[in-house]
């Protein structure tokens, strides 16, 4: 009798077979914030004759790291969501197969960061401060006009940012402060952060916690009216009664950082054709027009028409901060580490 | 029947059996007697197959069993610690050997009952072995060894772990049971009384060899070596200083012997008080005198500090410590220091 007990165990153990991707599915590796309208995706599935499975693996950084670690046996066929802050590492680790989509022609050159077309730009967004309009009006508080204003007593206890180690808007905002304050001089970016800490900044591990749980206008029970989010976030807070958004973003010069998101075909895919079709699909008008409402970002395809709310309430900063991807790649960890030491400990 | 031929075993560099030969006849009970470490248990284990000899052979019923695996030899072995299976009840323990022989359940039950009846444990079938007394455990172990009708029963100090009173009672019982079944048996013990009580013949072992083999009576009355004599508690041993033909010179005088001797045993059974002037009388002072009920045990200190021990009937007058006495040994036996031939 005890034998049978053991036997059952062994059989169960042998019956364990890893899940294998089937030929007619295309696995999209992406970050937790990826979203697409079901009908848009369904249309692609129908046209390409494949089923798309979406594998969300944390924030963009974790996604890239995980893909590097499982390079030998890729998690999927296509990766969407690597942005300019992590692009350097992904390219250095040879994650992608080059592919030049015919639709790339129309995309403005400022978004094309890889000459070999190993990655293709899909969307961009500016990481900016968002604020709760009602709170600022009710308290008669002026908006911060520069990053430095945030260290003033007026804004004590009001700001929530994301941890750059675990969140890509967090990293983007960190880069904006570096561009603004520089790494040397009398007042470096670290001095700025030290002042922010003194002013009781709150650090969330990810954007969704910051926006939905900590931000006053994010729908949760948050207590802070200033949050690091996207310039394109306010259209999502349009009040049905008033037709006006409850939040707005601050797009003053140098206060935002431009993030460009890319798609790449993962080295090792066994479904190259479908993967290429998928890249074309991401650049195509239906997906590009679906993007803003699903992911708070702007399409790179100029032919895509922006939704009404976006045209009205989505702001595009004139002079967002930018940084060369090689610079980012060279210092990213060093900066995150320094930030962690300054802000969290 | 059983024939052990010049078996040698050593563990590493230590020889444990140094050429042992032994024959056991059908229906005979042979006792292996000796101090711990003499190799008696190892010899038993060689016969059982639990130990492989470096040389020599073991024959049973006219053929070598050396290459027969343990479980096919059809022998029974009772261990000193009884080695009852703790996870089985009494009946299951006894039935184990029958189960291995694939005896059908109905017959198995009958034979288990018979075996338990033989050892006087009727009704104990369902008992948990952990809850048995020492004597009961011994009987279960015996029943377990008997149940498969072994061709040869071996018992390794089967009473060793029991107290003296129980031992005395059980040893008689044990002999009776073995007799009744008509088994051939090899019995290992370090207790001469046990050996006397149970053995048809006994083999006294020392340091890996058999020093003497014979009926208990023969061995006791005529030990052949100083070791055998001492092991049987015969300590009136006088070293031979010089020997010329039949005359052995010792510190206590000259004695007539029939064979070459390293020492002489003045067998206590034949010692009597004598006239100090009688020829061959040995004088000494009383060192100790113990009243034993039907007799006295006297210890006499003779010349050269040699101590002699003997018994006197209680009818005699009780000597005092320090009294001077003389004794006359009736039987003087030649002893060898080591094994004889």
């Amino acid at each position: 009798m005890r034998f049978r007990f053991l036997l059952v165990f062994v059989l169960f153990a042998l019956g364990f077979v890893p899940v294998l991707a089937q030929d007619d599915t295309l696995t999209l590796v992406t970050h937790d914030s990826f979203n697409v309208s079901e009908d848009v995706l369904a249309q692609f599935e129908q046209e390409a004759g494949v089923k798309v499975e979406i594998l969300r693996s944390g924030d963009a950084g974790t996604m890239v790291n995980q893909s590097i670690l499982s390079r030998e046996n890729p998690l999927g066929d296509v990766m969407f969501g690597v942005d300019n802050t992590f692009l350097g590492r992904a390219l250095a680790e040879d994650l992608f197969i080059p592919y030049e989509s015919p639709l790339l022609e129309d995309v403005p050159d400022e978004f094309k960061l890889d000459e070999q077309n190993r990655v293709t730009p899909v969307d961009y967004g500016d990481v900016c401060l968002n604020y709760d309009i009602a709170y600022f009006e009710d308290n008669d508080l002026p908006l911060p006009e520069s990053l430095h204003d945030l260290t003033k007593p007026d804004y004590r206890d009001l700001l929530v940012v994301e941890n750059p180690a675990t969140s890509s808007p967090g990293l983007a905002f960190l880069l904006a402060t570096i561009v603004q304050f520089g790494t040397d001089g009398d007042y470096t970016w670290l001095d700025f952060w030290r002042d922010l800490v003194a002013n009781d900044v709150y650090v969330s591990d990810d954007w969704s916690d910051a926006y939905f749980n900590q931000f006053t206008a994010g729908g949760g029970d948050g207590t802070r009216p200033l949050v690091v989010s996207y310039a394109s976030s306010p259209p999502f807070t349009v009040d049905e009664d008033t037709g006006q958004p409850t939040t707005a973003s601050i797009v003053a010069d140098g206060m935002c950082f431009r993030q460009i998101e890319f798609v790449g075909i993962l080295n090792g895919t066994d479904n190259l054709e479908a993967a290429q079709q998928f890249v074309d699909f991401l650049l195509g008008v239906p997906f590009q027009e679906d993007l803003p409402l699903q992911m708070f970002v702007f399409p790179v395809n100029p032919e895509a028409e922006l939704p009404q709310d976006f045209q009205q309430f989505g702001a595009v900063p004139e002079k967002p901060a930018t940084m060369d991807i090689d610079d980012i790649n060279a210092h990213r960890e060093e900066w995150i580490q320094a930030w962690t030491e300054t802000v969290l400990r | 029947m059983l024939e052990v031929r010049d078996v040698r075993v050593s563990f590493g560099d230590t020889p444990v059996l140094r050429g042992v030969s032994l024959e056991v006849a059908q229906g005979e009970i042979v006792c292996l007697l000796g101090p711990s470490g003499c190799g008696k248990t190892t010899l038993l284990r060689v016969i059982a197959g639990l130990e492989q000899p470096q040389s020599g052979d073991v024959w049973f019923d006219g053929q070598s069993v050396l290459n027969v695996p343990i479980h096919r030899r059809g022998f029974g072995l009772m261990f000193q610690d009884f080695a009852l299976f703790p996870h089985m009840n009494v009946a299951q323990n006894v039935a184990f050997g029958l189960k291995m022989l694939r005896v059908p359940p109905a017959e198995r039950d009958r034979r288990v009952r018979d075996a338990l009846e033989l050892v006087g444990l009727q009704g104990f079938e369902q008992r948990d072995v952990a809850r048995l007394s020492g004597g009961e455990r011994q009987r279960v172990a015996l029943a377990r060894s008997l149940a498969p009708n072994p061709r040869l029963l071996m018992l390794d100090e089967p009473l060793g772990s029991l107290d003296a009173a129980l031992r005395e009672r059980l040893v008689v019982e044990l002999r009776e049971i073995i007799r009744r079944v008509g088994l051939t048996a090899v019995y290992v013990t370090h207790d001469q009384h046990e050996a006397f009580a149970i053995a048809d013949r006994m083999a006294v072992m020392n340091a890996g060899v058999i020093e003497q083999i014979g009926t208990p009576q023969a061995v006791y009355t005529r030990p052949v070596s100083t070791f055998v004599a001492r092991f049987l508690g015969l300590n009136n041993i006088v070293p031979v200083l010089r020997q010329q033909d039949d005359t052995a010179q010792t510190a206590l005088g000259n004695f007539h012997v029939s064979a070459p001797a390293d020492a002489l045993l003045l067998h206590p059974d034949g010692i009597e008080l004598s006239d100090p002037n009688a020829p061959g009388a040995i004088a000494g002072s009383v060192e100790e005198c113990v009243y034993l009920g039907d007799s006295y045990r006297l210890q006499l200190r003779a010349a050269d500090g040699i101590s002699l021990m003997f018994k006197l009937p209680a009818v005699n007058h009780l000597p005092h410590v320090g009294d001077l006495l003389a004794v006359q040994p009736a039987r003087v036996l030649p002893l060898a220091n080591g094994r004889l031939g």
């Binding site: 005890r2 165990f9 169960f12 153990a13 364990f16 890893p18 899940v19 696995t27 979203n35 995706l41 499975e53 594998l55 969300r56 790291n65 995980q66 590097i68 030998e72 046996n73 998690l75 590492r89 180690a165 675990t166 650090v203 969330s204 591990d205 990810d206 969704s208 926006y211 749980n213 207590t223 995150i336 580490q337 969290l344 400990r345 | 563990f11 230590t14 444990v16 190892t42 197959g49 639990l50 130990e51 492989q52 695996p69 343990i70 479980h71 096919r72 059809g74 029974g76 072995l77 261990f79 000193q80 610690d81 080695a83 299976f85 703790p86 996870h87 184990f96 189960k99 291995m100 377990r144």
Partner: protein, 563 residues
């Protein structure tokens, strides 16, 4: 004739002898090799000796502070645990009250609960969305949760006490109960009473047990991972969390490896201290022992009640809250929707597979782990039960080593070591049961070994002589005698695998997540549905662990196992 006994246990065939090597090979491949790879990566990241990371650990205030925090939070947790467990032990040793043995047994339950479950349970009790806060908010009509413990040191310490209270309680209680009461009686006759009795007599006499319990709790809290990661927020990091952060978030493998080495070293030291202390406990036990009696007066009754109340509140309130909360809809009505949601996998979900499949994965991994750990553990136990080799004394602690190594380190080691053919397993789900087996192996060995050692050679020989072949001896004698130990070991392995978090977080692929990993992912997402699913899943996982625990306790009642 002992020297001859083992040489002639049922003769070992060549195959069998080769089998004995299996656990050693396993240990070499899946423990030492990854560990050595960590050494290589940390000492020579680019193929050349480079102690840069170590220098950085020593020179940078950041790492010194991380180490310091790890140390003092562990020390503080240990002190708190002891401070609460000591009066508890006093009550358990001195007084008799209904349900005593049941309570003492139940108190050990947290020990087998996965950290993720415990973290979720505490969040369900005192988190911002927990029962306490929602209750208070409804009661006093508050806008914000009044109890703000998330992301504080306090909640880390509370959970650490929750985990370890019973461990300390049991260790001290069993030591104390076996102590000779005459010593204390003598001291009282000599005039000691009140706090002097504690200071001069009781505490010094209990010192070995208090120290051993303290060191054990220190070990557990020093390597705390899930609790700090989930409840502590980004501001707190133990070494273990920092290793994970450096490797998974910052991709700084040399630094992660160096930190791992620091941790292994410190843990090994502490383990050595612990085994020494434990030997002393065993030697000090006297058979006389205290006799418990009913509390007599009001003061004694209050003391007993206070301690029991603490036990019940500390241990059961969070677990109860977890279960209740998992059935509570947003508007506070009863619902089973969170459980039903577990079967769904909408494309918007952060999970690649429906949560239900994670349960399937966890079960599959746990069964594979159990099978593997049983086979290897059994062979290892045989290896260690052989009395004839001096090798055994050396092998025994070797097989205990995985217990001293943190799961995160292990997972990290797998990632960097098992990436080349023929052991290119990095991207394979097989890694998970392998890692779990390593963690479970010591439990199986410790469960089987005492039973195996109780089988004297003469029992096996008796069976041989009675006509059993070598195989039959194993089948009819060894197996039945060790079966209970095997079952206990199996349940341990199963429970350990179901709840393992640290290593799984590293090596589980998104397409084959385990329950704890899914709970962790769900906890990180906004929305009542995600949180509710995390609660529902934690409740299920708790049920599995608790069932395993009850089985172990029942089997252990028959005196099995060395834990």
């Amino acid at each position: 004739m002992d020297s001859g006994v083992d040489r002639n246990r049922p003769a070992l065939g060549g195959l069998w002898r080769g089998l004995l090597l299996a656990p050693l090979v396993f240990l070499a491949l899946f423990f030492f090799y990854p560990l050595l790879s960590i050494f290589a990566v940390s000492l020579a990241p680019d193929g050349q000796l480079n102690l840069g990371s170590f220098v950085e650990i020593v020179t940078s205030a950041y790492y010194r502070e991380t180490l310091w925090f790890t140390l003092w939070q562990a020390a503080l947790s240990t002190l708190l645990t002891l401070a609460l467990a000591l009066p508890g032990a006093y009550v358990f040793v001195r007084y008799r009250f209904p349900g005593k043995s049941l309570l003492l047994a139940l108190a050990t339950l947290p020990f087998v609960l996965p950290t993720v479950v415990v973290a979720t349970a505490f969040s369900a009790l005192i988190g911002p969305r927990g029962l306490l806060n929602t209750g208070l908010m409804a009661l006093f009509d508050l806008d914000a949760p009044p109890v703000q413990l998330e992301r504080t040191l306090a909640i880390i310490l509370i959970v650490h006490v929750f985990y370890n209270y019973a461990v300390a309680l049991r260790m001290i209680t069993s030591f104390w109960a076996n102590q000779n009461p005459r010593m204390e009686e003598a001291a009282r006759v000599l005039g000691a009473h009140g706090w002097r009795l504690w200071r001069d007599i009781r505490l010094p006499l209990l010192r070995p047990a208090i120290l051993a319990a303290g060191v054990l709790v220190f070990i557990f809290t020093f390597t705390s991972f899930g609790v700090v990661l989930i409840l502590g927020g980004p501001r707190f990091a133990t070494l273990e969390v920092e290793i994970y952060r450096q490797a998974a978030n910052l991709f700084n493998l040399p630094m992660a490896a160096s930190l791992s080495i620091v941790q292994i070293g410190l843990m090994f030291l502490t383990m050595t201290v612990y085994t020494r202390l434990q030997r002393r406990i065993a030697a000090d036990v006297v058979s006389a022992g205290y006799v418990a009696r009913r509390p007599r007066n009001l003061r004694e009754r209050a003391l007993v009640l206070a301690n029991l109340a603490l036990l019940v509140v500390l241990l059961f309130a969070p677990l109860l809250a977890l279960v209740l909360r998992s059935f509570m809809a947003v508007g506070a009505g009863f619902t089973t929707q969170y459980y039903r949601l577990l079967a769904d996998n909408p494309r918007q979900s952060v999970l690649f597979v429906p949560p239900l499949q994670a349960i399937g994965n966890s079960l599959t991994f746990a069964l594979a782990t159990t099978a593997l750990a049983l086979v290897l553990g059994l062979i290892t136990a045989y290896l260690l039960s052989r009395r004839d080799t001096g090798l055994v004394r050396w092998l025994d602690p070797l097989f205990m080593l995985p217990l001293a190594t943190s799961a995160v380190t292990l997972g990290f080691g797998y990632i960097i070591a098992l990436d080349e053919p023929p052991l290119n397993l990095r991207a394979s789900p097989v890694l998970i049961p392998l890692a779990h087996t390593l963690v479970a192996l010591p439990f199986v060995v410790r469960s089987v070994l005492p039973a195996l050692r109780s089988i004297t050679p003469s029992i096996q020989e008796a069976a041989r002589v009675l006509g059993a072949s070598a195989w039959q001896v194993w089948r009819w004698i060894d197996l039945p005698l060790i079966s209970r130990g095997l079952i206990v070991g199996a349940i341990f392995a199963f429970t350990v695998s179901m709840g393992e978090f640290g290593a799984s977080l590293f090596i589980a692929r998104p397409d084959t997540p385990t329950m704890p990993v899914v709970i962790f992912r769900l906890l990180g997402q906004p929305g009542a549905a995600n949180y509710g699913q995390a609660l529902a899943m934690s409740t299920l996982l708790m049920a599995v662990s608790a069932a395993g625990f009850v089985l172990i306790e029942r089997l252990r009642a028959f005196g099995m196992g060395e834990f």
